[in-house]
């Protein structure tokens, strides 16, 4: 048993990209190993929930939580790890704001099942549907049940820090690891509780090299309709809906640099209550028309505004889910 501070990383409703991103810090992973003792990290080591339950409360110094809270297992482990951890970090867009799994908040649970298990591309000739409990000779088997809506980590437990990004960029992860190591060595202080770390203090435009002018949009277009994009000029100015202006900086404008519009995976800027609202107001501000019919014609260029503005942030928005998701099932 080492006396290095304990470290945990868990994945809930997520894709695994955050774990890959951690690996992408390359040699820095050796610093992690040098300074921490991983005690619970399902992707990297074998451990059981009962091992975690046996730990002392607060004995895990740092837990990185990746993934949204989609089912009752996720919820249970969130409460468990909160109890056992001193510092709990919502790691990545799924944990901080719901991310892509959060888009399921636009549908009721029945519809999610119907799509997963019964659509034409599913090979399920007997129409088998998962059951929460199943009797076998050995006893009763249970599997987690879906909650009516996906929640972010903070909507379920008290969170200490947030690291946005889908995934958080490796250079940001490396920077946070460095900070924590410095704190351990007494050379630095942790930021105030509740802070966003591993990210910038502005929005993607701050890091974007493209030239910016005053924008007058007469049409919104899909990127393939505009191709080739002018590499020097702001993407939004060229009529392609780029979420950069409302998205927190930190990724170094990764996507605009290679000619793709920002889709907003780093979430809202500091202090913003509803990410989508900022995009609604930003896009509306650059529409170059005064008459309602002209404005509507330009807005037709964004056929799915809910998806465009809330792709990553739906579960953490003010409204959180559509009426379809909560109306019948309660919440």
């Amino acid at each position: 048993m080492s006396d290095k501070p304990k470290f945990a990383m868990y994945w809930a409703a997520s894709c695994g990209g955050c774990e890959i991103s951690v690996l992408n810090i390359a040699e820095k992973i050796l610093d992690v190993d040098a300074n921490f003792e991983p005690v619970f990290w399902p992707v990297a080591m074998d451990a059981k929930y009962k091992d975690v339950e046996a730990m002392e409360d607060g004995s895990i110094l740092l837990t990185l939580w990746n993934g949204g809270i989609r089912n009752d297992e996720n919820e249970h482990i969130a409460h468990l790890l909160r109890k056992k951890s001193k510092i709990l970090v919502a790691f990545g867009s799924c944990a901080t704001e719901g991310c892509i799994p959060g888009l399921a908040n636009l549908s009721p649970v029945e519809e999610i099942f119907a799509t997963a298990y019964h659509t034409i591309s599913t090979d399920n000739p007997q129409g088998i549907h998962p059951q929460p409990t199943f009797e076998v000779p050995e006893g009763t088997l249970t599997i987690p049940t879906l909650k009516p809506v996906l929640k972010t980590l903070a909507q379920v437990v008290d969170v200490d820090y947030y690291m946005p990004g889908c995934p958080p960029e490796p250079h940001q992860i490396a920077a946070v690891i460095d900070l924590v190591i410095q704190v351990l060595q007494g050379k630095a202080q942790l930021p105030p509780k509740g802070a966003y770390i591993g990210c910038g203090n502005s929005t993607v435009c701050d890091e974007c090299p493209r030239a910016r002018n005053v924008k007058h949009i007469t049409a919104f277009r899909r990127i393939q309709e505009v191709a080739p994009l002018d590499p020097e000029i702001c993407i939004l100015e060229q009529g392609v809906p780029c979420n950069g202006p409302a998205t927190r900086s930190g990724c170094n404008a990764r996507c605009p640099r290679v000619g793709a519009q920002c889709i907003g995976c780093y979430g809202p800027a500091e202090g913003v209550l509803d990410y989508g609202a900022r995009l609604i107001t930003a896009f509306a501000s650059v529409v170059d028309a005064k008459e309602p019919e002209e404005i509507e014609a330009i807005l037709d260029g964004i056929p799915d505004p809910t998806g465009q503005f809330y792709r990553f942030n739906l579960a953490d928005s003010l409204l959180r889910a559509s009426t379809a998701a909560w109306k019948k099932n309660g919440h």
Partner: protein, 667 residues
């Protein structure tokens, strides 16, 4: 009333619910609201909750002042009438007690509740909700100080008609400098075109020209005629204006105004500005004999020399070599503290009323054309004649309200046309002895000596027919109508249709805003009403200032009015400007937006949202900045910033979010 301890970090709030006699108390249970606030808003900071019959009275205000001093109140919320009435009252009271005035809010439970709802229980519940909204909001109010900016003592007056001249003279006489810009070659405006003025029948030019001369020679007035304002930037106290002084092709240093050039110019054109199209002028011309300044102007598009290189008669005969064909437009930059717009009016185009035949029937005249006929210096030497310039009319019909008070054209009344029409009737009778008919809807003669003038014209034998003229036609219905203009009208007092044959018809056309008023307004950052007149700050109590600090309006630019009213407004605008100049500083309301430059990413999405040009992009820092003196506090950029980098005092996000929470308490 009672005291409570608020939640940890909420400032201490005092709540005051006003009865307003029975205005509020008659429909809202004010005691219940008071008690409810004390109980349910205690955790939002309420430490005292009172009610009183008339909060705006000195006793009511003293309640607030006393509580601020004795209880250490940090916020005050009064639930009473509209903030537009008494916000200042309660803010001043708080200030007297040592509390920053912007920490006091007034929420209306009178105009918005007791006066408009009928169920006491519901009205009381709504009052609680509105009060809760404001109590939640006020916790996020911050101490604000009005912004003070210095005032440049120079003034720009745009428009050299009687209102502009009056304003310029008042300021100049007080010892301060004025730039008077006029786009015609001479100052004087429409008044210079009139013959006589009502009701005194003073000769217009005789009362106007002394003022014009005074303005033209005043050491404190820089007269810029044949000039236009091209751009305005800056803010109250510190405007920077670019003025284009068009080329006259006459060197003002050398010109003596002798007029030989005008005499010798071989080229005549129709004068459709000053003479209303009834007479000619030369290509190099002064618009009228008493023009100020006296320097003529060369009408380049019509000049033979500029068209095909020949002539130059003016240059040949000028005794002082003042003609300069190489002269160019000059651009001047002036810095002023205040701007008065006295840009006047245009006339309604009578051609639009096709049934009156103006432009088709030769002897239908507009009021301005008639003024020129009647004027001794006009194209007919003051003889009132038909279009042929010779024949005197024997019967004249004067039609009121042409283009005014008319759903098809302009809804409003043009104010002066009744008096003007009476004046015409008098002049026609005096000069020609003709029979005169006046066709009116109402007789509007309200001001001093106006109704007496109406009586006089009645006594002189003018005939009045109450009815809106349906048609002016030359289609005769019989030999007695041949060669005449027939006025078809319902005489409503008699209840009969009438056809009245006349020789001459005068249309009292309405006033309209200048046809480029909207663009001019945008240049200065002021707006026009739906009729196109410039909007004053308050229609009853503040007629010469606009919603834009530092830009004032005077005369017909803000709506039809007569000469005394225009003069009064010119003087009023001057007084307001002098008031500012003498204070040396102006205080601006501290409701403004600021950009947090660290958060700003330089996306520039806000950059074209400000009509006051307060937003600018700082290239080398790649951030946007807002000029607090130019910012008018609308909050549009605050709402637009996708990074949440712009905050606005007085109506911040925190304040409004809190207000929404409070309004929905218990829902």
């Amino acid at each position: 009333m009672s005291e409570n301890t608020p939640k940890q970090d909420k400032p201490k709030v005092g709540v005051y619910v006003c009865h307003c006699g029975s205005n509020i108390a008659g429909m809202v249970d004010v005691e219940a609201v008071r008690d409810w606030a004390r109980e349910h808003l205690a955790e939002d900071g309420v430490v005292i909750s009172r009610d009183y019959k008339f909060m705006c009275s000195s006793l009511g205000q003293e309640l607030i002042e006393k509580d601020i001093k004795e209880l250490g109140l940090e916020r005050v919320v009064v639930a009473a009438c509209s903030p537009h009435l008494h916000e200042k009252t309660f803010r001043t009271a708080s200030e007297r007690a040592g509390l920053n005035p912007y920490l006091t809010e007034l929420v209306s439970i009178r105009e918005q509740v007791s006066w408009v709802h009928t169920d006491k229980a519901i009205a009381t519940e709504k009052s609680k909700a509105l009060l809760a909204g404001t109590v939640h909001r006020v916790a996020y109010n911050t101490e604000l100080e009005p912004l003070k900016v210095p005032i440049n003592p120079n003034t720009l007056v745009v428009g050299g008609g009687i209102a502009g001249i009056q304003a310029a003279l008042e300021i100049a006489n007080a010892g301060f400098h004025v730039y008077l810009v006029e786009r015609e070659p001479s100052i004087g405006g429409h008044m210079a075109q009139f013959d006589k003025t009502f009701p005194t029948l003073d000769c217009s030019a005789c009362i106007l020209t002394p003022r014009m001369v005074e303005a033209g020679t005043h050491p404190n007035i820089t007269l810029l005629t044949w000039s236009e304002v091209m751009s305005v930037s800056g803010y109250v106290g510190n405007f920077n204006v670019t003025i284009k002084k068009r080329a006259r092709y006459v060197n003002e240093e050398l010109c003596t105004g002798c007029g030989i050039c005008v005499e010798k110019c071989p080229q005549k054109v129709i004068d459709d500005v000053y003479e209303a199209g009834l007479g000619y002028r030369k290509v190099i011309y002064t618009p009228f004999a008493q023009a100020v300044p006296k320097y003529p102007v060369l009408d380049r598009p019509n000049c033979t020399y500029f068209k095909n290189g020949k002539c130059k008669a003016c240059e040949k005969f000028c005794p002082t070599n003042a003609i300069d064909f190489t002269q160019e437009d000059e651009y001047l930059n002036v810095e002023v503290g205040n701007i008065i717009l006295a840009t006047g009016y245009d006339l309604f185009d009578a051609r639009k009323v096709t049934n009156y035949g103006y432009g088709r029937l030769p002897n239908v005249f507009t009021s301005l054309e008639f003024e020129r006929l009647s004027n001794a210096a006009g194209p007919t030497g003051g003889e009132i004649t038909l279009r042929d310039g010779k024949t005197k009319p024997q019967t004249v019909g004067i039609i009121h309200c042409v283009g005014s008070r008319d759903k098809n054209f302009n809804n409003y009344c043009s104010s002066i046309c009744c008096m003007q029409s009476l004046k015409f009737a008098h002049l026609v009778k005096e000069r020609t002895g003709a029979d005169v008919y006046e066709f009116y809807i109402d007789m509007r003669t309200p001001m001093k000596a106006y109704d007496e003038f109406y009586q006089r014209v009645l006594d002189e034998g003018t005939l009045f027919v109450r009815g809106k003229v349906a048609e002016v036609t030359n289609a005769a219905h019989g030999p007695h109508e041949k060669g005449k203009l027939i006025i078809q009208v319902e005489d409503t007092l008699v209840g009969k249709q009438r056809r009245i044959p006349v020789d001459m018809v005068i249309l009292s056309v309405g006033m309209e805003p200048r046809h480029d008023a909207k663009q001019t307004g945008q240049l200065f950052g002021i707006s026009c009403s739906s009729d196109g007149w410039y909007i004053e700050r308050h229609p009853k109590l503040d007629p010469v200032t606009t919603m834009t600090e530092g830009i004032l309006i005077a005369g017909c630019a803000s709506g039809p009015k007569d000469i005394p009213a225009s003069v009064a407004q010119g003087a009023a605008a001057a007084a307001r400007v002098l008031d500012k100049i003498l204070q040396k500083e102006v205080e601006l309301e501290p409701i403004r937006a600021t950009v947090n430059e660290e958060k700003c990413s330089g996306c520039r999405i806000c950059n074209n949202l400000c009509p006051f040009n307060a937003i600018s992009f700082i290239d080398d820092l790649a951030v946007t900045r807002i000029n607090p003196a130019l910012c008018q506090g609308c909050g549009t950029c605050v709402a637009a910033c996708p990074a949440g980098a712009i905050s606005g005092t007085g109506f911040s996000n925190e304040q409004i979010f809190a207000q929404i929470d409070g309004l929905l308490m218990g829902v």
